[in-house]
Each structure stands twice: as structure tokens, then as C-alpha cells.
Symmetry: C2
Subunit: 309 residues, 2 copies
């Protein structure tokens, strides 16, 4: 493919402005031609109140990037796929695991690319960590993902509503890295979910996973943490300890700090999306969302104090 | 295969005595040689306190059927698969979706049969319903699965504990039928979960699913119902209404009652297990549990009155 891919964005909120618009502008393979949002507008392109109107008015669109909250993602993605467009989904790819499976089937039927993106997998330390761990004997994994919800999601009600995931909204980023860097599949054994008395979703969670050999994999997610925040994954192996911190932007193995380059998660996502479109393939790995669904299935809920935004 | 398969049972509770023991006794291809249970014994065979002891003492075992509650199923299944035994899992196949995926991989590695069984799929009306629906245009599905928990689970604490599924323990039977008879995949759009103030799992649930075309698929599960109980699935199509009742034992299409023969769910399960062993294959369809995990992920929880057993 030598031509630019004409792309539209649906859901023009914080993540679209902070990350998607600059990443698209920085990729020579994409040309942004339209936006769809109930309330917001993107300067310099045509704007529509919803995805359906955008698809109707812009037949030259080839791809759509969906940045709205997960609760509305399915109907937008279905409309785009049925119109023959390639689709990139922000994380999490949907409000349920099965809806993403149905989307993947729709993409196949319509011969479109579907990319269920996990931006944290494009953090600079992730692939180096994966390569180093590939042949190691892993004896323990500890994940701490602790941040201040008021800083990252000011006034965002959707995170507290069913399908909004609560603390799993950041926690799923950790899970997207762990599922990428560990060489073996793992599963949830037990979990504690701490749910504010006035909310539907957890504000904190402790998760105990294991792989088939019984390796302990522990994750603690907490949204009541700050101002110093923690996004770190520590993997103990027979050949040393791997320490991935700052959400994947810092990598230390034993005491050696690795030079892994600068953060460019969203540019990396659009490179991947372009590659998938160019090769006529899809990339839909649901495993991070699957682990969250398991946590909600199997977790012990404990009521904690009300959370007021 | 002409020889009998030497089989052991783990978890000698109500379901093992009511269903598994008679079904094994009635199948010429199986020979029961051992049981594993903390407290109970099976007359006429060797008994052990746990699966590991049974595997250790009975090397001639070829297959193990796991009937204990789902919370302990993984470790039992892993032990059996690693010892090279074929494994049949009672429903639900595990306490989480990912643990069943890990078991399926273990079965492949060890070249063993793994059968994640769904007994309700062997109800006599299911295959006839599936065949009739295969080419129909479906416009609506309504599921009512309403029974009295005190009748079916007297004093069984595990159903209320994390991983025990609550009303999804019977509801997953309905989902195992619906996923079998409907020709298209469907997914959860929204759910309400009614959870007793003193329990972890729902005692009732209303689920709204859809397929990719927007066909409404509604399920209502309730454990506070009786003495007349309901286990019925109604599928409205462009060519008439299919009515599967009594958990799949009664089938009516429009006003014509179909003669579908007598109930023999567990004999059907063991026939299927024998066939899988004979052909060196596995059957692990996680979709019913996946829908339950989605319901716990996406459902709106509502507190209802305490449930005391």
C-alpha cells in the first residue's frame, strides 16, 4: 500500500486529544478526514454527531479509530465493519468478552482489519522484557499498579458504571503487559475486589494468579494512591530479577538499567494498525479483558467507603 | 478401542450418586475402579481421600470424572492430566474461564482427552431444536429458568461462595442449551444481578443479549421460585415458534409436540466421553461460562433481602 489511509475518529474526548490526534498526525500513512462526537469537534476536518452519520457522509473513509468509552464501542464498531472499514479499538476492546468475539467474526466476514489495541504493550520496555523472559525459569511475579483516580479520570462517570471496569481500567494495562511478556499462560485463582458503597465497580483489587506449574503471580491495583504513583511489574527468575517500572518506560534487569528509548505508545499503535491494514490481517487478543471478567466472576467483593468525585 | 476404560470419580456428592454412578454403571465401555472423596465412599471400589492419592495408588486408571465443586476442579484436573489420564469435567468446567483454557492446553500437551461437559446439552429435545433452527430467521429468544434453590441445593455453601456462581449454576444450563441451538453467536448487552445482602453471588439475574443483527435474546434466572418451576426456552422465528421446556425434555414447534424420547442426559455425557477417548479428541466449549463471566463483569448489582439456608 502506498496511498494514505483515510481515517476517522469516533469519540473525541481526553484520550483522543491527548494521544490519538497527535499519533495520527505523526504517521505519514494516515490522513485524518473526519470526526464523530456528540459534543466535541476536531478542527480542520468534517465533524458528525455519530459514527453512522460519518460513515454515511464520508464514503472515502477507509478506517475508523474508536476512542469512546467501552459501553458504546460495539455498535460503533459493527457499523464501521459492516460499511467495510478497518477498525481500531481503544482498550478495553468492549464491554464484554463475547462482544469482542462477535466483532472479530464480523471483521472476518467483511474482510476488514480489526485491531484490539493495548497501548501499554507498546511501552518501550515491553518487547525487551518479553525477549529476555522467553527462556527463563520464572518463580514469582509481582505487579503493583497504584494511581490516583482523581488525577486520571476527573468527573468521568462511565468508569464507575457497569462495563466501565473501575480500577481495572488502569489495571488492564498491567494485564496487557503481563500477558505479553510472560512466556506461559496463567489464570486467576482468587481475588478480592474493594467496591465503594455508592459505586458499581472496584476502586481496588488484589488478584492471585498462577500458571499451570503453580508459579505465584500477584497483582495489586489501587486507585486511592498518590501523589507518588506506581506502575511496576517485577518478575523473579532463576537468572535474575526483571523490574519494569513507570508503566513500561523503565527496565532494569538485576541491577542493570536498560536503555530502551523514549515513550511512544500511541505512535506504536498506529504503526501496528497500518501494518495490519497493509497485510490484510487482524490482531484481537482478548486475554487482558478475559482476566478482568474472571476477576469479576470469581472475586470476593468487599464494601469500602463511598467514593465521591 | 475394544477394552473397557478404567475410570475413577473424584467428588462423591449428590451429583455423583444421583447421576454419574448410574450412568457409568450403564455404559459397557467404562469400568469404575476407584473413588476420591474427603468424606464419602463408593461401595465396591477402592476409595481414596483425594485425587492425588487415587492416581498414585491406581496406575491402571485411564480416565477420571470430576464431580467436586468448581473451586477445586483445576488442581484435580491438572493432577489427572499430568498423570496422563483422560478427564471429564462436570459443569461448570472451572472457577474461571482462563483456568479452563490452561487445562485445554495441558490436555493437548499430555495427549489426553479433556471433556468439558454440559449435561443439559444432552437433554432429548436439544439436537432436534438445533437442527430445526439451523436455517430459520430468528426474531426473538426468551429464556425463563426459575427454580427453588432450597430444593436443589440444600445446605450447599459452595454455590454462594466466590466461584460458585449462585443462580448461574442452574442458569448456565440454559446458556449451554441456547449456545448449542442458536445458529449464530450472541453477546451480553446488559444485565441486572440480584444479590442477597449476606451472600457473594446472585440469587436472580436478568440478562439481555443480542446477536450481531440485534436480535433480542432475553434470559431471566431466578432461584426464589416454586413449587411449580420453569426451565424453558422460546425461540420466535419467521417460520414459527419453538418451545423447549422442562429443561429440554419437552419440545413443541408451533402447536406440534415432538416425540423426542426419554431423558438420558448423563448416559449421553458418558457416551460422548467414550467417543472422545476413542477418537483421541477433546471437547472444551467454554462459551456458557464466558457468558456468565460477562454477566458478572457487566451486570448492575442490586442488593436484595438476605438468604438463609
Amino acid at each position: 500500500m502506498t496511498e494514505q489511509v483515510a481515517i476517522g475518529i469516533a469519540g473525541v474526548g481526553k484520550i483522543a486529544r491527548d494521544q490519538h490526534l497527535p499519533a495520527i498526525a505523526g504517521h505519514a500513512g494516515f490522513r485524518l478526514i473526519a470526526g464523530a462526537s456528540r459534543n466535541a469537534r476536531i478542527d480542520g476536518v468534517n465533524n458528525y454527531p455519530n459514527v453512522e452519520a460519518m460513515l454515511e457522509a464520508e464514503p472515502q473513509l477507509q478506517a475508523v479509530s474508536l476512542c469512546a468509552p467501552p459501553q458504546v464501542r460495539f455498535s460503533q464498531a459493527r457499523a464501521a465493519l459492516e460499511a467495510g472499514k478497518h477498525v481500531m479499538l481503544e482498550k478495553p476492546p468492549g464491554a464484554s468478552v463475547t462482544e469482542v468475539q462477535v466483532l472479530a467474526a464480523l471483521a472476518r466476514q467483511n474482510q476488514c482489519t480489526l485491531f484490539a489495541s493495548w497501548h501499554s504493550r507498546h511501552a518501550p520496555g515491553v518487547e525487551t522484557a518479553r525477549a529476555w523472559l522467553a527462556d527463563k525459569t520464572i518463580t514469582a511475579v509481582n505487579v503493583l499498579w497504584k494511581e490516583d483516580v482523581r488525577r486520571w479520570h476527573p468527573g468521568q462517570d462511565w468508569i464507575w458504571q457497569p462495563g466501565g471496569l473501575g480500577v481495572f481500567d488502569p489495571g488492564i494495562n498491567a494485564l496487557s503487559i503481563v500477558t505479553r511478556i510472560l512466556p506461559r499462560a496463567f489464570f486467576l485463582k482468587s481475588a478480592e475486589l474493594f467496591v465503594p458503597a455508592n459505586r458499581d465497580n472496584p476502586i481496588a483489587a488484589n488478584l492471585d494468579f498462577s500458571d499451570a506449574s503453580g508459579t505465584p503471580i500477584r497483582a495489586e491495583f489501587d486507585w486511592r494512591f498518590g501523589p507518588q504513583e506506581l506502575w511496576q511489574i517485577e518478575v523473579t527468575t532463576g537468572s535474575g530479577v526483571l523490574h519494569l517500572a513507570q508503566g513500561g518506560k523503565f527496565l532494569k534487569i538485576d541491577d542493570k538499567v536498560h536503555d530502551i528509548g523514549a515513550e511512544r505508545e500511541y505512535p506504536g499503535l498506529y504503526e501496528r494498525f497500518f501494518e495490519l491494514i497493509s497485510t490484510g490481517t487482524s490482531d484481537v487478543d482478548i486475554s487482558p479483558l478475559q482476566h478482568v471478567a474472571d476477576a469479576m466472576l470469581l472475586g470476593k467483593r468487599r464494601e469500602v467507603e463511598k467514593f465521591e468525585d
